[in-house]
């Protein structure tokens, strides 16, 4: 079920991002998006695990760039959610493959999907709300938020370091 659903999300992303580019009269880019989408689905069925993360980055890139070309932000938002969902399912499949033996797998899959659906639903609701909200940010606020973002990035670095330390501990044991 998870496998087929992942294809559905890849398809959804491709269609949404492609449509955003078509409506913005960038048919050539839309064609590239569709070709990449087909490649992603092919890779998914062929079991190329490395492709999932790569295509996720590519489609996030298409969504971000699309916004600077004033393309339909609704389609791009849907495309981004689709890419995130496909990426999540790809990682879940990878975890299952790596584990080898799985118990209560059906239960786990079901709960995972519920969680993902909840995330999608909340994201869409918040997306709709933000579409109707307009906040003017002054330079000072931007600077503050920028600093906050830098601090958060610092947290990512700390997290990465901790992860590596954990791995070292495991190796020592």
């Amino acid at each position: 079920m998870m496998r087929n659903l992942q294809s559905v999300f890849i398809g959804l992303t491709t269609v949404a991002v492609g449509l955003a580019y078509v409506t913005g009269h960038l048919e050539n880019v839309a064609l590239v998006v569709v070709l990449l989408g087909v490649f992603w689905i092919t890779g998914h069925y062929k079991g190329w695990n490395w492709l999932g993360s790569m295509m996720f980055f590519v489609f996030v890139g298409f969504c971000t760039v699309g916004l600077y070309f004033n393309l339909s932000r609704e389609w791009l938002f849907v495309g981004l959610i689709g890419a995130l969902s496909a990426f999540d399912m790809n990682r879940f499949e990878q975890r299952k493959t790596m584990a080898g033996m799985i118990k209560r797998g059906h239960d786990m899959e079901k709960r995972h999907l519920f969680r993902l659906v909840a995330v999608i639903f909340v994201s869409l609701v918040l997306g709709i709300i933000t579409a109707s909200v307009k906040i003017k940010i002054e330079f000072g606020a931007v600077l503050t938020l920028g600093l906050l973002a830098v601090l958060c990035l610092n947290r990512v670095t700390v997290y990465l370091k901790r992860e590596n330390k954990d791995l070292r501990d495991f190796i020592e044991i």
Binding site: L84, D107, I135
Partner: protein, 436 residues
């Protein structure tokens, strides 16, 4: 790169980009990532309270057979949405099919069981811990821990049972056993005849001999059966080893040593073991079941190595052996090994050599490989080596050393008993005092 890092990186990249370019739409793109990360953090595992037990239905398994390993995990903490159990399998074990990992969900008070099988080569393998990685469904927050679950798994070579090996050391102990002691007394084997003494049982009187002597009665003497000291010497020098993929001559030597030790100890003898290699390992002579385990352990750890200082058998630590005991050497009889036998004889040891035939072993292995071009040359070389070995064995037999030339495709038991049958070692003599 793992998932939380990817998601966090994209999230912060979009956030920074949106702020720098003051683009609200780009900022809006961070929402799904923020929700995704938030859900992970909210539902992530807080504290792990897990208990793990490892069960080995059999902790001593024959080489070639599969050993089952079972790990039971009990959760006495909160619900765990995703738990990955990874058993830290010792190096050298081959997994038979399933991996030693299990992915499951574990509710509060729940239990999970991981079962897998392994195969191994001869040796002892110690399991240490089980690695646990618990995370939320989205795999954002992960808690890791290693729980200790130590157990020892032993892969034993198949040890064929042997019939009693007839040995005759120069010296025996005072306790009753199966070995002929070269002394008259109660026993089963005829030893000699002596003049009747009061108290001798009537059924021991030799009537035929007594008839021929006037007024003299003779009694049969039997040979006392006692236990003895036996020293097993396993040659673990690299030069004695021949290995072809899975087949190893040394492994056959180990099986033979184990069988002999088992047989001698079962008969009640005191058995010592010397594994002669780079660092000769000496197991002091002892009796009984516990000592059998000691010898088994030493044999499990035995491996061939470049012997260095001990490359020649002449360095054998003879002084450690019990005086005038029986030495059983498991050795392929290399060219330079013959001199040690003279020395052992000189010190009063009785020697039995179990010699796995290296030429026969190698010949069979090469013949079975696909090398038809050089097959004829190999046959000629093998014949020369065989002749050389035959001469060596002949020379040693002349010295009074019993040698079992064991071609490993025949059973050791048959090899020993056919050889021992052909070369009787004992000679019974009748002592008859002249009548005056």
């Amino acid at each position: 790169m793992n998932r939380p890092v990817i998601i966090e990186s994209v999230f912060y990249f979009l956030l920074l980009l949106g702020l720098m370019t003051r683009n609200g739409d780009v900022l809006a793109l961070t929402i799904p990532f923020a929700v995704y990360l938030g859900a992970g953090i909210f539902y992530g595992p807080k504290e792990l309270r897990l208990k793990v037990t490892r069960i080995l239905p059999e902790n001593r398994v024959a080489v070639g057979r599969q050993a089952v390993i079972r790990i039971n995990l009990t959760n006495s903490g909160d619900d765990l949405e995703e738990v990955l159990v990874e058993d830290m399998c010792p190096k050298g074990l081959d997994l038979a099919g399933k991996t030693p990992n299990l992915l499951t969900l574990l509710p509060a008070g729940g239990k999970a069981e991981l079962e897998y099988s392994v195969k191994g080569t001869r040796g002892s393998f110690s399991f240490k811990g089980v690695r646990i990685i618990a995370s939320d469904h989205l795999g954002i927050v992960r808690q890791r821990m290693v729980l200790s679950a130590p157990k020892e798994l032993v892969f034993l070579p198949e040890i064929p049972k042997l019939q009693r090996v007839n040995i005759r050391p120069r010296q025996t102990h005072g306790y009753a056993g199966p070995i002929l002691s070269r002394q008259a007394g109660s026993g089963l084997d005829f030893f000699g005849v002596r003049e009747y003494q009061s108290g001798d049982p009537r059924n021991r009187i030799n009537w035929k001999l007594s008839e021929r002597h006037i007024r003299r009665i003779y009694t049969n003497d039997f040979e006392k059966e006692r236990i003895a000291d036996i020293v097993l010497i396993l040659d673990a020098r690299m030069s004695s080893e021949i290995r072809f993929s899975d087949e190893s001559l040394f492994e056959y030597a180990i099986r033979a040593t184990a069988s002999l030790a088992d047989g001698f100890l079962t008969d009640g003898n005191r058995v010592g073991l010397l594994i002669y290699g780079f660092d000769p390992k000496w197991t002091f002579p002892g009796y009984g079941r516990l000592h059998k385990k000691r010898i088994e352990k030493a044999l499990l750890q035995a491996k061939t190595e470049e012997a260095g200082l001990f490359e020649h058998m002449d360095r054998l630590p003879i002084r450690r052996f019990p005086a005038r005991s029986q030495v059983v050497m498991i050795n392929p009889l290399l060219r330079d090994d013959t001199s040690i036998f003279t020395r052992l004889k000189k010190y009063g040891f009785e020697i039995l050599v179990i010699s796995p035939d290296p030429i026969d072993f190698e010949k069979k292995m090469i013949t079975s490989s696909d090398n038809p071009g050089i097959l004829k040359d190999i046959q000629v070389a093998a014949r020369i080596a065989e002749l050389e070995r035959e001469l060596r064995i002949k020379k040693l037999r002349k010295m009074g050393i019993r040698i079992v030339n064991w071609q490993i495709d025949t059973s050791l038991d048959r090899a020993i008993h056919s050889t021992m049958g052909r070369f009787p070692h004992t000679s019974h003599h009748v002592r008859l005092e002249s009548s005056s």
